[in-house]
C-alpha cells in the first residue's frame, strides 16, 4: 500500500509500492515503478457518499482513513468544499482514523454535477471526495400551451414551477394521451422552442380531445402539472404569410401597398384567415399594429411620412378549420419587408426640401380632407363603381392643385378629377370647428374616432354602397390610416394624413 498519506488518489510524494487493490481501470499500471498511487477506495472514504439534501438542512460527514500504513491518523486531515477550506471548528477528530464534519443550513448546489466535498491529508493531497446535491424538489409545472403547425404535429411548452431553480438537475417529461382511450405516451423531442418545450411530430388524431401534462422529477421528488385538454383543430397555427411585398402607390407620398399570399400549407382546408399587419419607421422600435385584416391579401397603409423607410410584417391566424368555432393561433410574423414612401422634389421658399409649403395649413386632418372629398363627390361625381382608385386620383389632383390655393384654401377646378363626367368644382374648405361630415365624425383632433354609416339624408348613389363603414373604433394612438381593400374602399381608421412638415393633402 502507499504511504500513510495515500488515499484513493495516492500522493505524489509517496514512495513507489505495490498496489494491493488494482481496479481493472488501472491494471496495466500496477507495479509501475514511477506510479505509486491508485484508486483504492478502502484507503480513505467519505461517508455519506454523494448525498442528496434539502436546502437549509444539515450534513454530518466523516472521512475515515483505513488500512496501512500504520500511523495513518486523522490528525492533520482537513476538509474543502468546492475548493474552499472549511473552518477548523466545523471539524473534529472522532477517533484516531476518522475526521468528522458538521455543516448546517446548506445552500443550494453550486453546480449541477454536485458540490465537491474533499478530504485532504496534511500535505494537501486528496484522500477522498464526495459530491453533495443540495436543492429542492420540483414544483408543479404550469402554464402549458400547445399549438399545431398545419394540423400535422403538436408543440407544447410550459413553465417550470419555482421559477425552475431547484439547484438540482430536474427532468421534465411531457405526457399525452387521448382522453377517452389509449395509453400514456411520452414526448421525445425536447427543447425545440426553448428549454421547456417538446415536439410531437406525428400520429396525432383530429376531432378528438387529448390530455396533456408535464411531470417533473429530480433527486428530491417529483411533481405533476394540471392536465390540459385540447383538440388539435382548436390550436392550429401556420407559417407566416409568404411573399410579402410592400410597394409605393404611384406617387402618393403617404401610402404604401402591402400584398401577401395566404399560407399554402392550409390551402386545402376550409378556413378563414385573419391577418394582422404591423409596421414601423426604420429607426423606431415602436410597431403599429393593424388588426382585423380579414381574409384579404392586400392592404394599403396611409398617413405615412413621406420619404421614409418603413418595415412591414404580416401574420396569419387560421380559424374555422373544419368548422371549429375557435380562433386559431397567430403565426409568427413574416420577415420584415421594407419600402420607402416617395418624397416629391418640391423646393420650399428657401429652396430646402423640408420647409413647409406656402399656403398650406400646418396640419392636414383627415376629417377636413374627407369632408372636402365627400362634398366634392356629392357635387361632381357620378360613380357607378366608387373605388379607392378614384380617391387616389382625387388626391393626386389635390396635390397638383395645392399650389394655386390662397390662404382661404380655395380649390382650383381641374379636369383631372376622378369623375368621368364632371369636373370638381371649387369648394370652400370647412373649418374643423364647423365640421359637418358624416355622423360620428370626431372633431378637433383631426381624427375619425368613429365612422358610421352616412346619414340617410344623403342622396343614394350607386357608388355610395361601396362606402362601407365598419363602425369599428380606430385606435386613437395609431398613426396613419389603413385601407384594406380588395379594390373597394372599406374603412378608414384614422386621420393625421401626413408628416408634420405639412405635406398633408388639402
Amino acid at each position: 500500500t502507499p504511504s500513510g498519506r495515500s488515499g484513493p488518489f495516492g500522493t505524489a510524494h509517496s514512495a513507489p509500492q505495490a498496489i494491493p487493490h488494482c481496479t481493472e481501470l488501472l491494471q496495466a499500471s500496477c507495479g509501475a515503478p514511477d506510479r505509486p498511487s491508485s484508486l483504492t477506495p478502502d484507503t480513505a472514504v467519505i461517508s455519506p457518499q454523494d448525498p442528496t439534501l434539502l436546502i437549509g438542512s444539515s450534513l454530518q460527514a466523516t472521512c475515515s482513513v483505513h488500512g496501512d500504513p500504520p500511523g495513518a491518523t486523522a490528525e492533520g486531515l482537513y476538509w474543502t468544499l468546492n475548493g474552499r477550506r472549511l473552518a477548523p471548528e466545523l471539524s473534529r477528530v472522532l477517533n484516531a482514523s476518522t475526521l468528522a464534519l458538521a455543516l448546517a443550513n446548506l445552500n443550494g448546489s453550486r453546480q449541477q454535477s454536485g458540490d465537491n466535498l474533499v478530504c485532504h491529508a496534511r500535505d494537501g493531497s486528496i484522500l477522498a471526495g464526495s459530491c453533495l446535491y443540495v436543492g429542492l424538489p420540483p414544483e408543479k409545472p404550469f402554464n402549458i400551451s400547445c399549438w399545431s403547425k398545419n394540423m400535422k404535429d403538436l408543440t407544447c411548452r410550459w413553465t417550470p414551477g419555482a421559477h425552475g431553480e431547484t439547484f438540482l438537475h430536474t427532468n421534465y417529461s411531457l405526457k399525452y394521451k387521448l382522453r377517452w382511450y389509449g395509453q400514456d405516451n411520452t414526448c421525445e423531442e425536447y427543447h425545440t422552442v426553448g428549454p421547456h418545450s417538446c415536439h410531437i411530430p406525428k400520429d396525432l388524431a383530429l376531432f378528438t380531445p387529448y390530455e396533456i401534462w408535464v411531470e417533473a422529477t429530480n433527486r428530491l421528488g417529483s411533481a405533476r402539472s394540471d392536465v390540459l385538454t385540447l383538440d388539435i383543430l382548436d390550436v392550429v397555427t401556420t407559417d407566416p404569410p409568404p411573399d410579402v411585398h410592400v410597394s409605393r402607390v404611384g406617387g402618393l407620398e403617404d401610402q404604401l401597398s402591402v400584398r401577401w399570399v395566404s399560407p399554402p400549407a392550409l390551402k386545402d382546408f376550409l378556413f378563414q384567415a385573419k391577418y394582422q399587419i404591423r409596421y414601423r419607421v426604420e429607426d423606431s422600435v415602436d410597431w403599429k399594429v393593424v388588426d382585423d385584416v380579414s381574409n384579404q391579401t392586400s392592404c394599403r397603409l396611409a398617413g405615412l411620412k413621406p420619404g421614409t423607410v418603413y418595415f412591414v410584417q404580416v401574420r396569419c391566424n387560421p380559424f374555422g378549420i373544419y368548422g371549429s368555432k375557435k380562433a386559431g393561433i397567430w403565426s409568427e410574423w413574416s420577415h420584415p419587408t421594407a419600402a420607402s414612401t416617395p418624397r416629391s422634389e418640391r423646393p420650399g421658399p428657401g429652396g430646402g426640401a423640408c420647409e413647409p409649403r406656402g399656403g398650406e395649413p400646418s396640419s392636414g386632418p383627415v376629417r377636413r380632407e374627407l369632408k372636402q372629398f365627400l362634398g366634392w363627390l356629392k357635387k361632381h361625381a357620378y360613380c357607378s363603381n366608387l373605388s379607392f382608385r378614384l380617391y387616389d386620383q382625387w388626391r393626386a389632383w389635390m396635390q397638383k392643385t395645392h399650389k394655386t390655393r390662397n390662404q382661404e384654401g380655395v380649390l382650383t377646378s381641374s379636369s383631372a378629377g376622378a369623375s368621368p363626367e364632371r369636373s370638381p368644382a371649387q369648394t370652400a374648405p370647412v373649418p374643423p370647428s364647423a365640421a359637418a361630415g358624416p355622423p360620428g365624425v370626431g372633431k378637433e383632433q383631426g381624427a375619425y374616432h368613429g365612422w358610421q354609416r352616412p346619414s340617410p339624408a344623403l342622396p343614394h348613389r350607386p357608388g355610395r354602397e361601396a362606402l362601407k363603414h365598419p363602425g369599428r373604433q380606430p385606435r386613437p394612438e395609431s398613426q396613419g390610416a389603413v385601407l384594406c381593400t380588395g379594390g373597394v374602399w372599406d374603412s378608414v381608421y384614422r386621420g393625421s394624413w401626413g408628416a408634420p412638415s405639412g405635406q398633408a393633402l388639402e
Binding site: 484513493p8 488518489f9 495516492g10 500522493t11 505524489a12 481496479t23 481493472e24 481501470l25 488501472l26 491494471q27 496495466a28 499500471s29 509501475a32 506510479r35 498511487s37 491508485s38 484508486l39 477506495p41 457518499q49 454523494d50 474543502t80 468546492n82 475548493g83 474552499r84 453550486r110 453546480q111 449541477q112 454535477s113 454536485g114 458540490d115 465537491n116 466535498l117 474533499v118 493531497s125 486528496i126 477522498a128 471526495g129 464526495s130 459530491c131 438537475h169
Partner: protein, 207 residues
C-alpha cells in the same frame, strides 16, 4: 530512402520508394490535424473543469496523474526515441483514447445533462482521436514502419472502458470526475505529443 532520425532527406536517393512528395504531403496534413486537435483538446479540458466545479478549475488543483487503462502520459524519454517508435507510441495512445473518452461522455451525460457543448466536445474528441491515430498509422506505413504491437480489438477496448465506467461509478461521483479530468488531460498530452513528433518530420522542420 535513407532515414535520419526525425527527418526525411534526399528524396531522389531511391526511386523505388513511394513518391516522397506524397509522403511529405501526408505528413504535413497529419501535422496540421494534430495541431488543430491540440487546440480542441485544450478547449475540451477547460470546458470539462468548468462543469465539474471547484476545485477542478483552480490553479492549485492537481490530483495525482494516474495512468488509466494502460495509458500513461508520454514518458520523459519519449522525445529521444527514434521517429518511428515515437509515432508508434502516439498511434497506440490515440487508439486507446476513444473508448475512454466515450466513458467520460457517458458519465458527464448523467452528471451534466445540461452541458450539451461539453458532451459534444467529448464525442468529437473520441472521433478526432480515432482519425488522428489512423492518420499517424498511415504515415508509419508510408515510412515502412509497422506498429510493434497489434492494436487491441475495438470491442476489447470498449469492454475495458466499460469496466472503467462501472469502477468509477461504484467509487462515487468525485472519482468519476477525477477520472474524466485524467482522460481529458491524457488526450491533450498525446495529441500535443503527436503534433511535436510529426513536426520533426515535416520537411524543413527541426531535425
Amino acid at each position: 530512402m535513407s532515414r535520419r532520425e526525425g527527418s526525411l532527406e534526399n528524396p531522389q536517393a531511391d526511386s523505388s520508394i513511394s513518391p516522397l512528395p506524397h509522403l511529405e504531403a501526408k505528413i504535413r496534413q497529419t501535422h496540421s490535424l494534430a495541431r488543430l486537435l491540440t487546440k480542441y483538446a485544450e478547449q475540451l479540458l477547460q470546458e470539462y473543469v468548468q462543469h465539474q466545479g471547484d476545485p477542478f478549475g483552480l490553479p492549485g488543483f492537481s490530483p495525482p496523474r494516474l495512468p488509466v487503462a494502460g495509458l500513461s502520459s508520454p514518458a520523459p524519454g519519449h522525445a529521444g526515441l527514434p521517429a518511428p517508435e515515437r509515432l508508434r507510441l502516439d498511434a497506440a495512445a490515440l487508439s486507446a483514447l476513444p473508448p475512454l473518452l466515450d466513458v467520460v461522455r457517458r458519465h458527464q451525460a448523467e452528471l451534466n445533462p445540461r452541458a450539451p457543448r461539453l458532451l459534444r466536445r467529448l464525442e468529437d474528441a473520441a472521433r478526432q482521436a480515432r482519425a488522428l491515430g489512423a492518420a499517424v498509422e498511415a504515415v508509419l506505413a508510408a515510412l515502412g514502419a509497422e506498429p510493434r504491437e497489434p492494436r487491441p480489438e475495438p470491442a476489447a477496448a470498449a469492454a475495458a472502458a466499460a469496466a472503467a465506467t462501472a469502477t468509477a461509478t461504484d467509487a462515487g461521483v468525485f472519482p468519476a470526475k477525477v477520472l474524466g479530468l485524467r482522460v481529458c488531460g491524457l488526450y491533450r498530452e498525446w495529441v500535443s505529443r503527436t503534433e511535436g513528433d510529426l513536426g520533426q518530420l515535416v520537411p524543413g522542420g527541426p531535425a
